[in-house]
Structure formats: structure tokens, C-alpha cells
Symmetry: C2
Subunit: 185 residues, 2 copies
């Protein structure tokens, strides 16, 4: 059910085509919030249009259709955002792997942890460069888009801090006797 609202929400920002929406999932949303491929998006857009929650506002080259939210669609989205409990189950394969790392011996687990740390650093750098643009001039009303971006940054930062902490902890255990941990900065 979430895809439906993800699409309404993205269209609330600005009118877009299925192709545009597919890219927004691919380039940012899928890293921290939700993911869907085009084969799921196009049929869902057609359903939403059939229910008059969105409507075609422009047609372009190559059959491109630009959709916009209708009032009914905006209302539907509003209700979903307000009428919902906070706790929903999470599905995050990365965290699952983290959790299951405990089943390996430290010598096997350490390189995996290091790879995770490197990856998190890259993601953070990329997120930062993308959200740097969205900066808010002092005095201007706070934009929510900025809030979500900040959330993403903080999550990745927490992950990095954790991974560094974990490597130190494990490094102590695993190499009480070995050369100091090779630190890939």
C-alpha cells in the first residue's frame, strides 16, 4: 500500500511522468525510504489515474505523460500521513546482515565490517553533495525536504560512528597481539 502514497507524495512536490518518478526512487528514495521499479510504477499510476487521485496534465514526446495530484489525491495523501500508527515493520537487508555477523568468527567478520564502513562513508559523501544544494537562507521558512535530507545524513553518520566503534572493539579482541589495525581513511 505504501507505493501508492509514495507516488502521491512525489507528485505533490511537482507534476512528473512515470519515468521521472522511477528515477527519483532509483537515485535517492531507495537508499533510505522506499523502492519500486518502473514495472510497478506504471501500472500503479494507471490505477491512481483511474481513481481520479492523479490526472494527466501534459503529454510529450515518446508517449510521455506528466501526472499531477488532484484535490482528491491530496486529501488521500493527507489522511494517510495523519491517520497512521508510528510502528511499522522494517525490512533492511543491510541491518539483517549486521545482525547475523555474530554467527561468524571475528577474523571472517572484520573485513565485512570494514567494507560496510567504506560503503557508508561513500553514501554519506554522496548524500551530502546532493543535499548541500538544498540549503535554506536564514529567515526563510524551513522546508521539509531539508528535514528528510537531514534525517538521511544523520542515519548514515550514526552508522559510520557505530562501524568505527565496532571495529575498534573487535580490533582489540582480535589482535590483542597483532600489529595496530590498518586504518583505511
Amino acid at each position: 500500500m505504501s507505493l501508492r502514497y509514495a507516488l502521491l507524495g512525489l507528485l505533490a512536490d511537482q507534476p512528473q511522468s512515470g519515468y521521472d518518478l522511477t528515477q527519483r526512487f532509483e537515485l535517492s528514495l531507495k537508499r533510505y525510504a522506499w523502492h519500486a521499479g518502473h514495472s510497478q510504477i506504471y501500472p500503479e499510476l494507471n490505477k491512481l489515474a483511474a481513481s481520479d487521485l492523479i490526472t494527466v496534465v501534459a503529454e510529450g514526446a515518446r508517449g510521455r505523460r506528466t501526472y499531477a495530484l488532484t484535490d482528491a489525491g491530496r486529501q488521500e495523501l493527507r489522511e494517510w500521513l495523519t491517520d497512521r500508527p508510528s510502528a511499522q515493520p522494517v525490512r533492511n537487508e543491510f541491518v539483517l546482515r549486521l545482525f547475523l555477523l555474530s554467527t561468524l568468527d571475528p577474523p571472517e567478520a572484520l573485513p565485512i565490517l570494514r567494507a560496510m564502513l567504506l560503503h557508508a562513508r561513500q553514501e554519506l559523501t554522496e548524500l551530502r553533495s546532493r543535499s548541500g544544494n538544498i540549503d535554506v537562507a536564514p529567515g526563510e521558512p524551513m522546508e521539509f525536504g531539508r528535514l528528510a535530507a537531514e534525517y538521511g545524513l544523520r542515519q548514515y553518520q550514526a552508522m559510520i560512528d557505530w562501524a568505527e566503534w565496532a571495529l575498534t572493539k573487535l580490533g582489540q579482541d582480535a589482535s590483542e597481539h597483532r600489529h595496530p589495525d590498518t586504518d583505511e581513511k
Copy 2:
């Protein structure tokens, strides 16, 4: 595909029945890593047993079957943990709602943010009380289970910090002229 490895991983910790496994998802895993209900778990256990990745090590009252990892199962799990890229798409309805909050006006969004903050504080408290037990005596080898718990704590803490920051920011915007924000501690 992840469920399969989640089950192998949980069984690597200790032999358990489908019923036990269902509870471990329900009580902890689903909040931050993965979720599955019994109707998904039982058939998957039967498949894993058919492939000799797990095996029944005890039968108890009411048809209870306790499964344990086989060597092949442990190998399969090891491969999954080591041979995998770090970036997998995330599906988190909570974060999606966060992201879409930007489509509401601040007066509508503020109460939702406050509810999210309260919820995160509750979750953190509960996580803390559960993981407090798993404390490591100084000098003892670091346990990975402790690492995963620490990760959960840090993620929730980051969320709380963010929500407090966001409320302050929005409070400033929304009530440049109103009484100071009611702070629910």
C-alpha cells in the same frame, strides 16, 4: 531471499522451533532488521530441511520440532554474509512518511512529528532495557549480538536527536509569534 538467511542465522545462535523463531521476529527483529509471520516461516523451514541446510534435532509436545543448522547450512550462511554488496534497497514506511511530511503545512505536520518523537523515545527505552542484560564483562571477548544491539540503540538515538532538532526548527517557523513550544519531555 533474505528470510532464508535470517532463519539460518537465528538457528546458528541456537536450535529453535518455528514457533520460537516467529517470536524472535515479532519481539525484536521486526523493529529494525526484518520481519516475517509464521505463515511464511513454517513453509520456509520445511524447504530448508528438505535441502538439508537445517535438521530436526528434537520433537516435543504438540508437534513441536526443534531445528538446528547443519554444516551445509552454516556454509550457506557464511557465503551469504561474505559474498554480497553492501547496498540493498531499504523499505521503511516510517521514513517514507517522514519524507512525505514535506507535502503538509507545518500546522498539520507538527503533531505528527511530536508523535514520532514520543514513539522513538519509547522504542529506545524498550531496546535499552532489553539489551542492558547483554552487558559484556571487561576483558571478555566482544560479542556480535552486543554490536547489533548497539547499532539499534544508535539508530533510535539519531532519530530522537533529529526529531528534537526538527521540532525546534519548525517551532521557530510556525510560531515566530506564538507562545513557546509546549515541550513534552
